[in-house]
């Protein structure tokens, strides 16, 4: 692909572990079989985002998509692997380089109410960071913030109001203006339109696309909503229990998904154009990330699983131009299992 990626995750892992408490340590000293519980939220993931791209990161709850987003936005350190910003390792940057790289990646969250300080006025919420980082002087602050507010569709005369005086969609616009205020290159959107009504959601998505053109932004767009991701992304990455299972362009991925999990996700997406009277859900629950299944994490729910899937982790391999999936079926000599109709289970 083209040149050095803007940001690249190389074998990035993020583990969360709970330390044993005092009583458990004593119990262990007496021979109880206790060990620290570790969740592999992100498990050796490789992901490159090129400048100007919109990459969608999809998956169900607990798949690690938000954690990966946070690691890439630089607000959470990786426990393994490295994140490279324009080819340089993020963790190794120092001084002004570090500050610049951190400012250049900003995040927009799902619930603006929990990310906007309720005691601050909008002008201070948006204006604090550029002021602190010397991007704007105090006398020029109001004009600077008013200009940003205008661009994201907020009435600049409301700058002295508090977050609770705005509707959900407007609050999301405040969050967007805050992210833009430090002139970022990459924006990580974590479920940024999930809590909005469909019409407001469309307004915000349009705003994201307009801002992309206007500021030449790159997006990592995290969402559980395949419809949204399909619409706005240049590339889609599907995660399941901490690992990437498939990646491809929306056209390829949605019309010809290779991984059984992607297929299940796409098939079960309710849609108004495709009225089905019957459901053929994939079996089973999403397993706990505390005890992920061996081998391919999807094998207990997969209708095509065979012996190898229980033992060996499938690696991401190219299945077509720009498309890759992590599934042992890719190595099967007969394509029957892949192209055949998806057997149904309930």
């Amino acid at each position: 692909m083209m040149g050095t990626p803007l940001i690249e995750a190389k074998n990035v892992s993020r583990r969360f572990s709970r330390k044993l408490d005092y009583a458990e340590k004593i119990a262990r000293a007496f021979g109880a079989n206790l060990s620290e519980k570790t969740v592999h939220a992100v498990d050796e993931v490789n992901l490159a985002v090129h400048s100007g791209e919109v990459v969608g990161l999809v998956g169900e709850s607990g798949c690690g998509k938000s954690t990966l987003g946070r690691v890439m936005a630089g607000i959470m350190p990786a426990s393994g692997g490295e994140v490279r910003w324009k080819g340089r390792e993020l963790a190794g940057l120092k001084g002004p380089d570090k500050r610049q790289a951190r400012l250049a990646a900003q995040m927009i969250f799902q619930d603006p109410m929990s990310t906007l300080n309720p005691r601050k006025r909008v002008i201070d919420i948006i204006g604090e960071a550029p002021l602190v980082h010397g991007l704007v002087t105090r006398p020029a602050l109001r004009d600077y913030v008013a200009d940003l507010a205008q661009r994201v569709g907020l009435d600049p005369s409301y700058l002295d109001r508090y977050p609770h005086q705005f509707s959900g969609g407007q609050r999301q616009r405040i969050g967007i203006a805050r992210a833009l205020a430090v002139k970022p290159e990459l924006i990580v959107c974590d479920e940024s339109v999930a809590a909005l009504d469909v019409s407001i959601q469309a307004q915000i998505l349009n705003l994201f696309m307009d801002l992309r053109k206007e500021f030449g932004l790159t997006y990592l767009f995290i969402s559980h909503d395949l419809g949204v991701v399909k619409h706005i992304c240049d590339r889609v990455v599907v995660m399941y229990l901490g690992r990437i299972v498939e990646t491809g362009t929306p056209d390829e991925l949605f019309s010809n998904p290779k991984h059984p999990y992607t297929r299940a996700l796409i098939r079960e997406l309710p849609s108004i154009s495709d009225r089905r009277r019957d459901f053929t859900p994939v079996k089973g629950e999403i397993p706990s990330p505390l005890h992920p299944p061996s081998g391919c994490h999807f094998h207990p729910r997969c209708p095509h699983a065979f012996a190898r899937c229980q033992q060996e982790r499938p690696l991401l391999q190219e299945t077509g131009p720009g498309q890759a999936s992590a599934c042992h079926l890719n190595d099967e000599p007969s394509p029957a299992a892949r192209t055949g109709t998806f057997s149904t289970v309930s």
Binding site: E60, S61, A202, H224, E268, S271, F279, E285
Partner: protein, 324 residues
């Protein structure tokens, strides 16, 4: 047609506030036939949940049903004393909420809660009640129901908790279930499983279902008929296929066009302009007229309900029969 299970006529539920009266539900009429699945669609604040709560007599004061009639199997519910309403609620009409933690008590085991729910309406032995609870859990697809009766709500995943809530709703084989966004908080694959179970169970027990949702996709997949609410009113109603293929009301059309799949990939989406009006400051006449591209002067008058065969709408400029 046989007698409908639920017949709501001119229902209004108002909330008096210091700044004026909020007409959360404003002259709403609809029926739910036997074994029928009705989808009630609208954005936040449209009054769809309050409509459901009103039917069950669960509107919190100061809000109250100020006028209209709710007839359930021919019986008027609005005038019913609390005690009589309690005998119906949970027995003949059940409700499922978005957040099952709202239904479930976190400090009691699932079994204790379900036995309590059985004994609230039926005089049976505890053993018998426990057996019924176990069977209900099995019915909604919870593995090893006998052991799971002793588990507590936090030991279940979100999808499983919602199954428990559905099992509780099914305990008395109600004739009507009102489900308020029951799959909104769930993942796609789990949502699909729940929709599948609900559909199967509704058929098996010949239950009628009112499915409240903001997601037209879910309603399209599940419901026989759809009601579209905007600003406290039902603005369009009809069979799902007809409404979604040829929406009469511009709001219904707007909702459908705002969905990302409605436009080619990468093109700007088509949101409905503006925002839903504050419930305290709704425009006179048609409350959608400020956001409507078809609006003309006539829209400042109250649009009446037009009925054509099995479809109805409240609009002066419906898209009669023409595709969008």
């Amino acid at each position: 047609m046989t007698q409908p299970v639920l017949e709501v006529t001119n229902l209004s539920t108002h909330f008096p506030t210091r700044r004026g009266v909020i007409k959360a539900v404003d002259e709403v009429s609809f029926t739910v036939g036997q074994r029928e699945i009705v989808g009630l669609v609208g954005e936040s604040g449209s009054g769809k949940s309050i409509t459901g709560f009103s039917v069950l007599g669960l509107v919190d004061p100061p809000g109250r049903v100020v006028s209209g009639s709710i007839r359930f199997q021919g019986e008027e519910l609005t005038q019913l004393p609390q005690k009589a309403m309690r005998a119906i609620r949970g027995k003949r009409i059940a409700m499922i909420f978005q957040d099952p933690m709202m239904t479930l008590n976190p400090v009691l085991s699932i079994g204790t809660q379900m036995v309590e729910a059985v004994l609230a309406h039926d005089r049976v032995s505890r053993t018998e009640a426990r057996n019924r609870a176990r069977d209900a859990l099995g019915m909604v697809g919870i593995p090893s129901p006998e052991e799971r009766l002793d588990a507590y709500p936090h030991q279940f995943s979100g999808g499983m908790r919602q199954r428990v809530a559905i099992a509780i709703a099914l305990l008395h084989r109600p004739d009507l279930i009102i489900a308020d966004e029951p799959t909104t908080a769930l993942d796609v694959t789990i949502q699909s499983q729940i929709l599948y179970e609900i559909k199967r169970l509704a058929q098996e027990f010949s239950m009628a279902l009112v499915w409240i949702s903001h997601d037209l996709g879910v309603v399209a997949a599940l419901a026989d008929r759809v009601l579209v609410m905007y600003a406290g009113r039902i603005v369009e109603a009809g069979p799902v296929e007809d409404v979604l293929s040829q929406p009469a009301h511009p709001y219904t059309l707007g909702l459908m066009q705002a969905i990302p799949s409605a436009v080619p990939r990468g093109e700007p989406l088509r949101p409905i302009p503006g925002m839903a009006p504050s419930p305290l400051a709704r425009p006179s006449g048609c409350s959608f007229r400020d956001r409507c591209q078809r609006a003309t002067e006539i829209c400042s008058a109250e649009p009446r309900l037009d009925i054509l065969a099995d479809r109805e709408w409240r609009c002066f400029h419906p898209n009669e029969g023409r595709a969008a």
